[in-house]
Amino acid sequence: MNTALALFKYLTPESFLAETAFFVLIAGLFKATAARRTALLSLAILGGLASIAWLVLNPDTVNIAHGMAVIDPLTRLGKIAIVALSLGACVYAAASAIEEHFAEYLALILFTAIGMMLLVSAEDLLMIFIGLEMTSIPLYLLAAYLKKSSASAEAALKYFLFGGVSAAFLLFGFSLIYGSTGSTSLQALALIPRATASDPVFLAGVAFALAGFGFKVAAVPFHLWAPDVYEGAPTPSAALIASASKVAGFLILAKFLTLGFVHATGSAVWNLWQPGWLPLVAVLAAASVAVGNLAALSQTNVKRILAYSAIAQSGYMLIGLLAVGQRRETAIASVLFYVIVYALTTLGAFGIVGIVEKRRGGAQLQHFDGLHRSSPGLALALGVFMISLAGIPPLAGFFGKFYLFAGALGSVTSASDGSLGLLWVLIVAIVFNAVSLYYYLIVLKHVFVAPVPDAPHAAEPQPRTAAGYLSGLLAVAVVVIGLYPPLLLEPIAGAVTATARAAAQTELRATLNPPQR
């Protein structure tokens, strides 16, 4: 089978989404009514489900065009998560205040999903860059979607400028990596000699690329766009940026670092620094956890609280990547578990914020006053999400953090030189995690304790909507995964192990016949 046909066959899930997006665009030309809105949403969901079904039913492992698109259990899992989260954003979009050009909004969400799916299946620097751009450009449009709101325009412009600069950093880093190794394939980069791995030009390339990825996942000090974008963008767009885009970003970052740069890890042990990507990631992680949690304390807008919380959560996920030195598979599995749990939680939380915003005209803390009277279900779900984000057992967020921290703690127990390993990062993370409880509980205080506002109908039960049901479903998922973590952890660990086994075979083959440079 030639490459073009193989591409066409194995990128069928992406084709499904693209065709659905085109159909939605044409169907959206008819005059919009409530029934047609539902029909458009059903069409998008149908396409997404077809895409997921294809991914589930076709468990092949293929590598097309030397790493341009690699389909293995890990990327398949990532793609399923991305499509599911994007469909969630579609459901919230249907419930949101987006009246004009609704079909185009759904189509843009689907186009973003295609970009993210290509991104996670890339194992080549060029394809990673193209995937990131294919993800980012529709996201800029989604952030700018409320044409008449100046906050939305501001958010989109900030997102666009920061995104453009980060793309430049990334490309510059990639060019340095290519210049010092002569290869853009991650699998070929994994085989570079140790002398090249300590070459300053190569390390500078890795550092620049990390800065670019840092923008994408909103790690401090590359986080400045996040609060304004989350606040100003339409809420479903913010939900998509916080959930699916985060999953894709972390999956590709984990692949980039652990697949291509296993020999350039260096050391992040306190006072025993070695140049490589570990010290950089350790500093990014500690700074994100500290700044994100502290800055969230003084916020009065729930979307901004969620944005700073997202920055802090990025820090926790980066800590998970630090454990790669000890047990690579466990580390990737724990990061993936946490990022998926976080994406489910934050998607649900943004959904509820969107519902409240539409009903009460804002997302300030006081708009949530007495929510438990008017919609007890939403209040309960928001409680579950906030407590899970804070990491309190028995919810899924606790086990996610537990796996991440346990992985990093492995570096302390396995340190043979009597050093304390990565304990310093862990101490920072745990101290600031305690701080984070304050702002999560402030939100819940407004929901459950604050008196119901005097506004008419504030305490009346509100009609239930599809968006509300989806938030409830996500809350149930968070509770169930918390009660029985293997439900999600086992598929992830299985996929990571299967992928590693396949990769080991490829590596053996590559060592026997080195790739042509």
Partner: protein, 124 residues
């Protein structure tokens, strides 16, 4: 080790001095031999076009961009169809490639239909 850095410092110093000297000479030359004497004729646009009328900051209609984008639909279609016409038309293609070309044309055409139905082609 310190020798290496000495070389580096020397290099830096030369790198700074090298461009500064010509700049300084040019500045001094300008001060001594060609003092500025601006006048009406000297500051006229001269050989570089006409005198501009009105302010440079005008609002440019966004619709021009939309028209340009939609023009691309026809442009890409022409680029694709012209070689096929030169080859002897669709009859010269195999069934598979004719289908692929038609699918691509349909995608382009969908863009035009979408823009038309959205009212983008109406000049407002």
């Amino acid at each position: 080790m310190s020798q290496d850095y000495l070389l580096l410092t020397l290099f830096l110093a030369i790198a700074v001095i090298f461009p500064v000297i010509p700049l300084a000479i040019a500045w001094a030359w300008c001060r001594i031999f060609t003092p500025p004497k601006p006048g009406h004729d000297k500051q006229a646009i001269y050989e570089c076009g006409l005198e501009s009328k009105g302010p440079a900051r005008i609002q440019f209609r966004a619709q021009y961009y939309l028209y340009a984008l939609i023009f691309l639909v026809f442009d890409v279609e022409a680029v694709l169809l012209f070689p096929i016409a030169a080859m002897g038309g669709f009859g010269a293609l195999s069934a598979g490639s004719a289908l692929a070309v038609l699918a691509f044309l349909c995608l382009l055409f969908e863009g035009l239909v979408w823009a038309w139905a959205k009212g983008i082609l109406e000049w407002k």
